[in-house]
Symmetry: C2
Subunit: 178 residues, 2 copies
Amino acid sequence: MQDEPEVVILRLGHRPGRDERMTTHVGLTARALGADRIILESAAEGRRETIEDITDRFGGPFEVEVTDSPLGRLRSWEGSIVHLTMYGQPVQRIEDEIRASHRKEPLLVVVGAEKVSFEVYDRADWNVGVTNQPHSEIAALSVFLDRLFDGRELDREWKDADKRVVPKKTGKRVEEVE
Amino acid sequence: MQDEPEVVILRLGHRPGRDERMTTHVGLTARALGADRIILESAAEGRRETIEDITDRFGGPFEVEVTDSPLGRLRSWEGSIVHLTMYGQPVQRIEDEIRASHRKEPLLVVVGAEKVSFEVYDRADWNVGVTNQPHSEIAALSVFLDRLFDGRELDREWKDADKRVVPKKTGKRVEEVE
């Protein structure tokens, strides 16, 4: 988010066909919950448009980048690295340490789909489990971001939006933004 | 979770083919993050086995139920009702009220896929937005449950598990449970 070191999501292991909606939801969740940017592999390039379309309509800033060398991006990252995995250390035990690090430097958050190579576990500063149960990379990412930002992401402002949802007790209200 | 009023997830609007993995992830997220039970529509019955298989291996209690009348279940629910929707009131503003209610009575959490009928908005005690941005019902559910339970779900114990993941700084460790 603005005025803070960058938080970037690296989506690994996208399987064309099988993972299309999951990767879209990872991207939209990253945007909605305060990340600045997502890096997709070439195999997931088709997802870029859907995510950018939401940013065009509902605001940003949020960037989508595509790379043919996701592990290269991991190796050259200047900052700290979190890898979300059910095998990792409980988020509730190490979130303070990660938050303290993020006050000082950018954070890369790796979200895998299929099996992730050992290099990722090894290069991560923290392998983090949102529970040690099998569930969903979208769920892990969203709980992680909400805790990283301590809920601040829920009150962020959006720039250059065409539309804005006005919260309602019942029903739907969407305003055009002037 | 045990010793608390029940939390039940009602998954609405599952579209066969399109929503299979999403509904599986909703179910696994519900289980991992402290819900007691998920109710699926008949159209999503094929997802039951995958979710129950995880419960058999990694523990419970967690129940999967299938109904041919999801709106009937909503109408006859005895307790309070949350409907997760990007059009709703900000979760951070009303979570205290919902937590207070859940200390006293069971809570039904409605998670829609495609468009949800107005009756759901109308019957819900709270229409809740985890941001008012379009993202993912899995993300909304996971942030909502983590806040509802105040993180207690991350330390819950699992019964009748065959396997247990042992948190590690690097790599993977799974133990057989005696």
